[in-house]
Symmetry: C2
Subunit: 116 residues, 2 copies
Amino acid sequence: MLLSDSSLNSTSMSQITEALKSRKTFSLLADTFQALGDDSRIRIVWVLSKGERNVGDLADLLKMSQPAVSHHLRMLRNLRLVRVRREGRTSFYSLDDQHINRLLHEGIEHVEDLLP
Amino acid sequence: MLLSDSSLNSTSMSQITEALKSRKTFSLLADTFQALGDDSRIRIVWVLSKGERNVGDLADLLKMSQPAVSHHLRMLRNLRLVRVRREGRTSFYSLDDQHINRLLHEGIEHVEDLLP
DNA sequence: TAAACGTATAAGCATCTGTTTATATGTTGT
DNA sequence: ACAACATATAAACAGATGCTTATACGTTTA
């Protein structure tokens, strides 16, 4: 009978709404990290951190098939990690904001502390 | 015939070793992000960002089974995201270094920019 | 408008992941 | 030594994931 009893108990209203917000926040946060938690996608993000690229060039650079790259880009796009700029039949992708760049480089610093 | 021809070509030795280092770096980087890319684990990390906790308290706080928490902690431990301090039969976990805290909060900032 | 081009999407699949249930390991207290 | 306790590990299974192959979509050029 959550929220149906008007008497005060140990769980305040603000704590509940905060918990609900956190649920959504953490869910999106997990999705975001998961998107970065794939070898192919993190390499895509790394290339894009150097500057804008189109799909075909990404596929060539990373030696991946074009559909695979496109598939990953859609996922990154849905999570607002990358953005697309269309020019004719070519799609140019870039990192969506500086948060992504910082996440990437914070992660790189972390793993480089671990590697020999 | 990689590396067997002593003549210079377009791929220099330093580029090759750099690429090899990058491969391992990116592989570990992807594993690291993947470890954070799960709803249960990111919530564990979030609780630990507030301070040290033992396994049972984590399970209670996050309403997860003890084996599930233990399973996730092992993964986080293997990747050096958390560390453990044993005291009797109790294991206290905490974030391993400040990189993890920064990754967490950089991620939170990113998603809070997206959520309404 | 037809062909070429760059990209996006869909279906199918083998592999990976996270959970539960059950049990093992190690520690404390009697 | 034995029971209670805290945590760790293992096996098994449902669901998610990433790749390939095939095809569709939208744009440009002849």
